[in-house]
């Protein structure tokens, strides 16, 4: 279960950020922001290596805190960043991948919505519901 999910446009501004409202959300925003550098690094390094679409498990960005940050970049250079609490059960690779697949599918639906202008913040309720279903329910 994710703690924070963010969708970042190709110009590196956020299209959508949602985190479970426990403590200060700002912390998650910073984490997502710093993870963007790692993402860029991986993309440029990947040109020589395998040509694969998925890009995940960027590893612990903050060794002090117990979060894992995963990344995923689509062909249209839109980045999905997911912050997971690693104190709970260690999520398997497959689960993370399927969560990103669901995210990508929902994002594609948002893109095809004629009322959505590419580059605006995502305000679709369906997308919202899908993301909430992937996050921890903390009361």
């Amino acid at each position: 279960m994710a703690v924070c999910i963010a969708v970042i446009a190709k110009e590196n501004y956020p299209l959508y950020i949602r985190s479970t409202p426990t403590e200060n959300e700002l912390k998650f925003h910073y984490m997502v922001h710093t993870s963007l550098d790692v993402v860029d690094e991986k993309i440029s390094a990947m040109g020589k290596a395998l040509v694969d679409q998925r890009e995940l498990y960027l590893g612990l960005l903050y060794p002090t805190e117990d979060y894992k940050v995963y990344g995923y970049v689509t062909n249209s250079k839109v980045k999905f960043v997911m912050v997971v609490d690693s104190s709970n059960t260690a999520l398997r690779d497959n689960e993370i991948r399927s969560m990103f697949r669901k995210l990508h599918n929902s994002y594609t639906d948002v893109m095809c919505n004629p009322f959505y202008n590419p580059g605006d913040r995502i305000q679709s309720r369906a997308f919202d519901n899908m993301v909430m279903s992937m996050m921890i329910q903390v009361c």
Binding site: M46, V51, V73, N75, S76, T108, M111, C112, P118
Partner: protein
């Protein structure tokens, strides 16, 4: 089989609809082509997002152009581009010898002057697809003899 005809007929109606509404306003001819092209642009953006969902990452510009010529064209028009030429400096020419949207119109020089209206949407389609993949471009089309047509893509290097 019927769904090909669906898009063809709808596209023809879109073109005549845009021109009819222009007649009522005081809009010059050039604006209609722009409107059609912008429609194609938005559609292209959404389409590319859907089509590239499962494909591998593209290595370079040429790879993207090949994708447009093969997979994208096949999915939209049920055939591939017949000829792709480039000067390796950002200009690509896509040649389609039997363009789906023009086959029903004529098989020679008749109606040549109206052909550009029916190509504007597809130009926008290509431009929208490329822009979503991160490539800014200008797409123009020319017809010398129906139903063959050439799309010229000029990549703008920033």
């Amino acid at each position: 089989m019927a769904d090909e005809a669906l898009f063809l007929l709808l596209h023809n109606e879109i073109v005549s609809g845009v021109y009819k509404s222009a007649e009522q306003g005081e809009v010059e001819n050039g604006r209609c082509i722009t409107k059609l092209e912008n429609m194609g642009f938005r559609v292209g953006q959404g389409l590319i997002e859907r089509f590239t969902k499962d494909t591998a990452r593209f290595k370079d510009e040429l790879d993207i152009m090949k994708f447009i010529c093969k997979d994208f064209w096949t999915t939209v028009f049920k055939k591939q581009i017949d000829n792709l030429r480039t000067n390796h400096q950002g200009i690509y020419v896509l040649q389609d010898n039997k363009f789906r949207l023009l086959t029903q119109m004529s098989a020679g020089k008749q109606y040549l002057e109206h052909a550009s209206k029916y190509l504007a949407f597809t130009c926008g389609l290509i431009r929208g697809g490329l822009s979503n993949l991160g490539i800014k471009s200008i797409v123009t089309a020319e017809v010398s003899s129906m139903p063959a047509c050439k799309f010229q893509v000029m990549i703008q290097k920033l």
